[in-house]
Amino acid sequence: MTHETPKQGWLARLFNPPRGSAPYLFLMPYIVLFLVFGLFPLLFSIYLSFHIWNPIKGLDSMEYTGFENYVLAWGDPVLWKALYNTVWLAITSGLAQHLVAIPTACVLVALGSRLRHWLTSAYFLPYVTSTVAVSLVFFSMYSPNTGIINKLLIALSESDLFGWAFSWVPDVMPLRWLEDTFLVKPAVAFLVFWKYTGFNIVLYTTGLMTIPRDLYEAARVDGASAFRRFWHISLPLLRPFIFFAVTLTIIGNLQLFEEPFILTRGTGGVGHSAETISMYLFRIGWEYLDMGVASAISWMLFILIGILTAIHFKLFGRQGLGEH
């Protein structure tokens, strides 16, 4: 059998490449897409962050400004407001997600597999559906006069059973969940919590499944209570999973865009009360058409994510990865 096939056409050669060039051909789509949509643009955005440029006016209008874009963004109080909002939302919704997900996962693994599967499917559902769609549903639920949340609060305050606990409701109605500068952040955080807790529950359930059953049995024989078994066995062995899940939450939450964008109709809320850094970046770039400053902001956000992830790694990395 010879591999000598004289005079192949280019098509045949493409489909039957010599062994040496085969991997490059297989990787060609990745390499091309990476260079065109990955590396080049990334380098260009560094370049751009040192220039003034309005994309409508074409490439000629680009002007070098040094660090001015960074200085400009740094001096804008809205950036700091957005930074505060982003960190507030990240911490509030992030903490709530993990504090709920871990105990839930612990109870779930104790259940029969059928019930566990049904519950997990329900919890995970928000994660697979479109953020825009579910945010619109929440937008209507938060509506001051017609939303189910306010209607429910009124109904509770009028009910005989719970009326005493909700007697404050008529005084504050209608609650403007998304227009009140005080309420809007919790409202956004709740949507984020609702959407991503299921994902974390699945991570933690998987983690708990990896813990050998006999560890618990041994502890039980030694007379450890359910709480102590959770505290001394589940939690320490879950650490790598907690570490990983929290890393994902930090990176994801700091880039929060769609939820606050839809809930505030793209405005960022009254007085930027729910504007995140990503939304701020979007506004500067696509509404004020200042791509230079927008690029500078995106690099500042990148550095922020880097710093917070590094702090997280520094504080919890060694324990988190089980000191391997």
Partner: protein
């Protein structure tokens, strides 16, 4: 205290377990409530939505809402665009990611370590950082307001290539591929006829991850598509949010229908979707 809890009779422990289970079931119901609620609202008229009563029953305004929906946005055009983008994007992703992952798993070649490092490194780049560059590249290439710009750049995702690579390394024996070559099969034939059929499980994962991504994607269409007839469904739904006197029944009907493909798919294979969507997290 601790011993006292332990000393509680098994009945009490059982009762506590039942209470916990009840809590979990209630929270599961609350989690799915918004989906149910958007379906209910889509059958109600403006009058019943605005009344102070809470009704969990379907109303009778479904037809009127549907007519209104078609009036306020090119709904089926947008649904078609989303399907088109998600289908093409997913299909091409399957090809590109399986090729890339296969190359990393099977071959030794110059620059492999560098390329693989770049692959893993680019998984760490937050999407927001690449938003402006992505927009600029699309502009340079003259692809503004085209669907290609919404699917093509995301078809060779590092994450999916990585998944395929891991799967091929772990589950496809090298000897099998070697023997195919011995029998005179070319490189591409070996990949296409021998390896690809064996990759089915990981390809299913790639398909799930990519389809869900393309269907739900909002940010890249938002900056690239600007004419209404090119809108994907997420853009179309958002565009009616600022209408004066928003017709909520119609908007919720559109929202509900837009979620149906994923919901139906999820209801038949939630197990596979859950493990697919968490595969990177759980195995990584």
């Amino acid at each position: 205290m601790r011993n006292r809890i332990e000393a509680l009779s098994p009945y009490v422990v059982r009762a506590m377990m039942i209470v916990l289970m009840g809590l979990l079931i209630i929270s599961a119901l609350m989690t799915v409530f918004p989906f149910f609620w958007s379906a209910i609202l889509s059958t109600h008229s403006r009058e019943t939505i605005f009344s102070t009563d809470i009704t969990l029953m379907p109303g009778d305004a479904l037809a009127a809402n549907y007519a209104k929906l078609l009036e306020i946005m090119p709904f089926w055009q947008a649904m078609f665009n989303s399907f088109y983008v998600a289908f093409l994007g997913t299909t091409v992703s399957l090809l590109f990611c399986s090729m890339g992952g296969y190359a990393f798993a099977v071959y030794r070649f110059k620059g492999k370590n560098l390329l693989f490092g770049v692959l893993v490194g680019s998984m760490m780049v937050p999407p927001v950082l690449s938003l402006i560059p992505y927009y600029l590249t699309v502009k340079f290439l003259g692809l503004m307001d085209t669907h290609v710009a919404v699917w093509l750049p995301f078809t060779a995702t590092p994450f999916c290539i990585f998944l395929v690579r891991q799967y091929v390394v772990a589950s496809i024996p090298r000897e099998l591929l070697e023997s195919a070559r011995m029998d005179g099969a070319g490189e591409f034939t070996t990949y296409w006829k021998i390896a690809l059929p064996l990759m089915k499980p990981v390809l299913a994962t790639v398909a799930i991850v990519q389809f869900v991504f393309f269907w739900n994607n909002f940010l890249s269409p938002l900056v690239v598509l600007n004419s209404t007839e090119n809108y994907v469904i997420t853009l179309a739904l958002r565009s009616v949010q600022n209408l004066p006197n928003t017709p909520w029944g119609a908007v919720m009907l559109g929202t509900t229908i837009s979620m149906l493909p994923i919901l139906l798919f999820y209801s038949v294979s939630s197990k596979q979707i859950i493990s697919g969507m968490t595969s990177g997290a759980v195995k990584g």
